[in-house]
């Protein structure tokens, strides 16, 4: 088995295995407490602790130098104009830095820049075919659709953890289910999430270069999220479960008075288990890019090194070739060449 197959199928079977475990495990009523209460609490605990731990590990290392990637004109002479785009891509003030980070985090600014080099067949062009570096937004679109769908889904699920359900979440749900072409109303976010995850998966597999660099750690979360999405969709539209009982369970978890109502379908436990695995897996994986982007020194620093001193906590003196040594060595030649010296002999 080659590298790709090994990494892909291990991930696939891992996810399928998790599904199987949850499916059969939840059949036994005695294990429902385990899958419905113990695992979720454990997962959240691991998630929070792991997340905090990992961030602390990062925080333990200093940022010795100010190394922002300057993707626009820097602030120099006052009459050199910088439009807002440049001020954000090369922030000179904290305000603009916040803008840069916001764009990065909320709009995936850097990915939006993505280019593709391509040969364009262009018979109308007198030069014939042209090689162009064109703006390629599909990856950006896929990524942003994926992430926002995920966010909406998480917020939507809060209706299970709150009572009464706050107005914003209700509103969000109405918007999400705006197109009522099915009963229950189809949530756009669910569809978008699965489609986007499929796209991200497909490009990983079909693009030879991407397949070459992809590891199990890349396939596994995608497959896991696909599994979560698909099981959720199945639960809502096909294999229905008693939603009142689901909320009872969820609310029980959220209020620390866990209860396990009887008679929730197995698919719910599959869904829940996969979500728990995702939570527990989060801090140990590349999914840490979410908090990580806030700590990336090439993005989160103001580009003002020439007028605001940045201090390196472990700065240490180094040995360099001192002028005196230099002059001692070349004094005669320097005198001969009429170069001023400190000591004449």
């Amino acid at each position: 088995m080659d590298f790709f197959k090994r990494h892909f199928f291990v991930s696939l079977f891992a996810v399928l295995g998790l599904v199987t475990v949850a499916y059969f495990g939840s059949q036994a009523a005695s294990l429902q407490v385990f899958f419905g209460v113990v695992v979720p609490y454990l997962a959240v605990l691991i998630f929070l602790e792991g997340l905090i731990y990992r961030i602390i590990v990062w925080a333990r290392s200093p940022v010795p130098f100010r190394i922002p990637t300057t993707a626009g004109q820097n602030k120099s002479l006052p009459w050199i104009e910088r439009d807002l785009g440049e001020q954000l891509d090369n922030p000179a003030t904290f305000k603009h830095l916040v803008g840069r980070m916001a764009l990065e985090v909320l709009a995936f600014r850097s990915l939006f820049r993505n280019l593709r080099t391509e040969l364009r067949k262009d018979p109308a062009n007198p030069e014939g075919d042209r090689l162009i570096h064109w703006s390629y937004k599909w990856l950006w679109l896929g990524a942003i659709a994926f992430h926002y769908a995920f966010l909406v889904i998480i917020l939507r699920h809060l209706r299970f953890f709150t009572e009464p359900v706050p107005m914003p979440f209700q509103l969000l749900e109405h918007v999400d289910g705006f197109f009522q072409f099915f009963t229950p109303a189809v949530y756009l976010s669910g569809v978008v999430l699965v489609v986007a995850a499929f796209y991200l998966m497909a490009r990983r597999i079909t693009n030879p270069n991407l397949r070459y660099i992809s590891l199990a750690a890349d396939y596994f979360p995608l497959l896991l999220i696909l599994g979560i999405g698909i099981s959720g969709i199945l639960m809502r539209y096909v294999y229905k479960v008693d939603i009142i009982a689901v909320k009872e369970l969820a609310l029980g978890l959220a209020t620390f008075h866990p209860v396990v109502p009887a008679g929730i379908g197995a698919i719910f436990y599959v869904h829940l288990f996969l979500v728990c695995v995702l939570f527990a897996y989060f801090p140990f994986s590349k999914l840490m890019h979410a908090p990580g982007v806030f700590l990336s020194p090439s993005r989160n620093m103001v580009s003002n090194n020439r007028w605001v001193l940045h201090v390196n906590p472990w700065n240490y003196p180094v040995k360099f070739h001192h002028y005196d040594e230099y002059e001692d060595r070349f004094r005669e030649a320097m005198i001969e060449a009429d170069i001023p010296v400190e000591k004449e002999s």
Partner: protein, 164 residues
């Protein structure tokens, strides 16, 4: 020329001292705190409370009149809980959209145990469950769903009777 110079490298290195502490702690921990607060905020109001699940009330005049053994819905309760919305929409589609001819049993729904019901929310379901606020709304509000049944179907007892 610099025999005694210890640089950063290898075995003879004197490593630069990195103080053990949190760097940029203020920003990082503020960020983390904001994240945790956002996480807990929606859950906070109910923390520690016990919130009982809604109790569907079956206390309506029609049900009370029924003999104990006849007090059962057209489908098993578990099934109804998960699927009633689908059934109602199917009924609607059959009756309103495809016309009565489109439905296999015409306007009637046959339950597994052979009883026949008029496929109608107002006239069948709400006949027994005439207490919408104690039966339907409780759960719907609980899980924050707003079914669009009530856009057309009248809900008040009186008007219900008049419509008949």
């Amino acid at each position: 020329m610099a025999e005694n110079y210890k640089n950063e490298f290898g075995v003879f290195a004197e490593r630069p001292k990195v103080e053990k502490k949190y760097y940029n702690a203020k920003n990082i921990f503020t960020g983390l705190a904001i994240f945790l607060i956002l996480l807990i905020l929606p859950l906070a109001p109910n923390l520690g409370k016990t919130i009982p699940p809604p109790q569907r009330s079956l206390d309506t005049p029609v049900i009370q009149k029924l003999a104990e053994k006849d007090r059962k819905c057209l489908m098993p309760t578990d099934w109804m809980r998960a699927n009633h919305m689908q059934m109602l929409v199917d009924w609607r589609d059959n009756v309103v959209r495809s016309g009565e001819k489109g439905a296999p049993n015409g306007r009637y729904f046959e339950s597994p145990d052979g009883r026949k019901f008029l496929a109608s929310l107002t006239n069948s379901c709400m006949d027994c469950h005439s207490n919408k606020d104690k039966f339907c709304d409780q759960c719907h509000n609980y899980v924050a769903v707003a079914p669009n049944c009530w856009g057309c179907h009248l809900t008040e007892g009186k008007t219900l009777a008049e419509a008949k």
